[in-house]
């Protein structure tokens, strides 16, 4: 296969890159569309109800109908909002969520995947930009609920970024590389998924990533029963859809990251690589929905205490243990 990524920047290679980006965008949008559908069906099943089943066979077109509805809605900008920031915020939030897809290896042939040497760092750095979008949205809306929601989001995402980052360092130490593809190859070579030697790191990652994604029990930024809808309370129509899209895009990306770092990525017997990857991604996503159906929400101060006093020390312990074991072996 022609490796378009290592080509110099010529017209054909730029076109190839564009095609690659569009294909990934469509793929991600498709995944997000059906993630939302699956979420609603799973929640329905866990909560003794049916879930969407009217639009199309088995309700399969429900999300598409929802998106269309959002598209034709009136675009309201509150009179006293900071207009420019209000419009910019959803874009700032969304773009990084899509960009991080570039480093996640979907299959063994890593079609359309940027083989970045600093993959893990790239993911963490870009995903941090989204916080700005969320904070700006809360600020620019000129609404007290949105402001509190935005500030809570910022505080939460910043606090959980640290244990999340530290939990990944263990994996990076094991593989000796920041490249996500190399990490998968290292796991394949060792014949052991990182989830077993890095069990402590995996637990920290699972909790911290749930908080990063603002999902139950860490869904405070959009705590419906307290802040009405949090930072996006003033958003309507497609700007609102962008925030939702960001959220589910990150769910997909985080699931991909989890699969790559801890569950062996696309490696696995018999089945093709992309299918293994899809199965592992779905496992993570299902786990998130399961939590959503089961748990109540943390209180904001408990959330902070938990991050700094429990997760951070655990992540550090994991890091030291990994380092010591690595040095002895």
């Amino acid at each position: 296969m022609w490796d378009w990524r290592s080509q110099p920047l010529t017209v054909p290679s730029v076109i190839a890159m564009l095609i690659g980006a569009v294909v990934i965008l469509l793929l991600a949008l498709g995944v997000v569309t059906y993630t939302i559908y699956v979420q609603r069906r799973i929640l329905g099943w866990m909560q003794l109800r049916i879930g969407p089943n009217r639009v199309g066979p088995l309700g399969l077109f429900q999300t598409i109908a929802d998106v269309l509805k959002l598209l034709i809605k009136e675009d309201v900008v509150p009179a006293k909002a900071d207009r420019a920031l209000f419009m910019l915020a959803p874009i700032i939030a969304f773009v990084p969520s899509f960009t991080v897809m570039a480093v996640i290896p979907f299959s063994a042939h890593n079609v359309f995947t940027a083989n970045l040497g600093i993959g893990v760092l790239f993911y963490l750095a870009l995903s941090a930009i989204t916080i700005h979008g969320v904070m700006l949205a809360g600020w620019a809306s000129n609404n007290k609920y949105a402001l509190i929601g935005g500030m809570r989001s910022a505080a939460q995402m910043l606090s959980y970024e640290i244990p999340l980052g530290l939990s990944l360092v263990g994996v990076v130490l094991m593989a000796g590389s920041l490249n996500l593809n190399d990490i998968v190859l290292a796991q394949q070579h060792a014949g052991l998924w990182n989830v077993i030697p890095q069990i402590l790191g995996f637990i920290v990652f699972l909790i911290a990533s749930t908080a990063e994604l603002n999902r139950t029990p860490f869904d405070l930024p959009e705590a419906e029963s307290e802040l009405v809808a949090g930072y996006h309370v003033e958003y309507t129509g497609f700007r609102f859809a962008f925030f939702m899209l960001t959220e589910y895009m990150y769910l997909f990306a985080m699931a991909g990251l989890c699969a790559t770092l801890f569950l062996g990525g696309w490696s696995g017997p018999l089945l093709p690589g992309w299918l293994w990857f899809a199965i592992k991604v779905f496992l993570y996503i299902f786990f998130q929905f399961w939590l959503q159906a089961t748990l109540p929400r943390f209180r904001v101060d408990q959330l902070m205490t938990f991050s700094w006093k429990v997760l951070l020390p655990l992540a550090l312990v994991n890091l030291v243990l990994t380092g010591v074991v690595k040095a002895i072996w």
């Binding site: 139950t216 419906e224 029963s225 159906a293 748990l295 929400r297 943390f298 209180r299």
Partner: protein, 374 residues
């Protein structure tokens, strides 16, 4: 002279947060004006009246039987208990005999109503705390009670089932067996609720020690029901001032220890258990046949005078105070609305708390705005 000048310090402002009346967790149309300084609440002012329909005034123009459907709309989660409270007061005033079977039917529907109302509290409270599923689980169970009520009186929410001197309809054939089946079913469900909610660390962390008050405060504010019992004060009118046939049944009054939100939640769960016990005993000893409406004069006229009687409602002491001039309509009707009185404590409870606790504390006080605003 201090190093930092007064002017150079960070300027903080009090923020006025308007919670409600369309806020999803104010259980209807309560509005709270919350003054916050940073994360701390400095003052709370509940604004009520968005659902005011003037029930007490309207009652002055209605014959006694006509008032009954209006009581359905007070605490709409416990309409049977409201029905009974009014009928009971009139019966006391007129010294009427209620047939045995009617008394049993009343106790069965009242206790089932209490179960339905308490289930609803548990679901709504957990929803306030961010857990979605328990809300749908309790709705599935409550639905069965609502269906049973639908069979006995033809309505799902506003029953208008009781009459002065008895009940309007006898139980249809097979109804009592269905109730017995339901009681068995819910008893088995109990374990699930206990595991899912009481055993949840996050739930405990959010409710233990939150919104505490002691017995003196509760008594000073005139609280009743679970809000009072959660402080460890065993006050239940079914025991303390027995009405109807409650003296024939064997049941306990669960009380709390700490008077916090967790105790209030847990008492709801325990009281469901006690109510089911009462229903079980009532089903065993109910007369198999007999009239369900006693000998009542065609036109109900309460003799001149002032009458009050209170019952143990789902949210506290529910009482009707009637001033009569001997006519077929009351001269004045005053309702002792437990939700309204329990709500008085809210500003006291919230002052000095963190903003994150507002919903947890408000939810546990358990108000129904239909009753608060009446």
């Amino acid at each position: 002279m201090s190093l930092i000048d007064e002017k150079d310090q960070v300027r903080t402002e009090e923020m006025l947060l308007n919670l409600g009346p369309q806020h999803p967790s104010t259980h209807g149309v309560l509005r709270l004006l919350v003054k916050i300084n940073g994360e701390t609440i400095t003052d709370v002012e509940p604004v009520i009246g968005y659902l005011h329909r003037g029930t007490e005034k309207l009652a002055e123009d209605l014959q006694y039987t006509q008032i009954i459907p209006y009581t359905d709309r007070l605490d709409y989660l416990a309409a049977m208990l409201n029905n009974y409270a009014l009928c009971h007061t009139i019966e006391q005033a007129m010294d009427l005999e209620v047939p045995e079977r009617a008394e049993y039917l009343r106790v069965i529907v009242m206790e089932m109503q209490r179960v339905a109302s308490h289930l609803m509290f548990i679901g709504a409270y957990l929803l306030d705390l961010g857990a979605m599923s328990p809300f749908l689980y309790v709705f599935a169970d409550r639905e069965q009670i609502v269906q049973l009520f639908n069979e006995i009186c033809g309505a799902r929410l506003t029953y208008n089932y009781m009459r002065v001197g008895g009940v309007k309809w006898d139980a249809p054939p097979g109804w009592l067996e269905k109730v017995a089946d339901f009681v068995q079913y819910l008893k088995q469900k109990f374990h699930m609720y206990d595991e899912l909610i009481t055993g949840n660390e996050i739930f405990l962390a959010r409710t233990r020690g939150i919104g505490r008050f002691d017995t003196e405060t509760a008594l000073a504010y005139g609280l009743s029901g679970i809000n009072l019992r959660s402080t460890g004060y065993p006050w239940d009118l079914r025991r303390k001032k027995p009405y109807s046939i409650y003296d024939r049944f064997d049941f306990d009054i669960p009380v709390g220890q700490n008077g916090d939100c967790f105790d209030r939640y847990y008492l709801h769960l325990l009281e469901i258990k006690e109510s089911l016990r009462i229903v079980e005993q009532a089903l065993k000893s109910i007369p198999s046949s007999g009239p369900v409406l006693g000998k009542v004069p065609k036109m109900i006229r309460v003799p001149a005078g002032e009458y009050y009687s209170g019952i143990e409602g789902a949210r506290g002491e529910l009482g009707f105070y009637i001033v009569s001039e001997g006519k077929d309509k009351p001269y004045r009707l005053k309702i002792r609305k437990p939700s309204f009185i329990n709500l008085q404590l809210l500003p006291e409870l919230l002052r000095g708390q963190s903003i994150a606790n507002v919903i947890a504390i408000l939810g546990a006080v358990d108000i129904v705005l239909g009753e608060v605003d009446a």
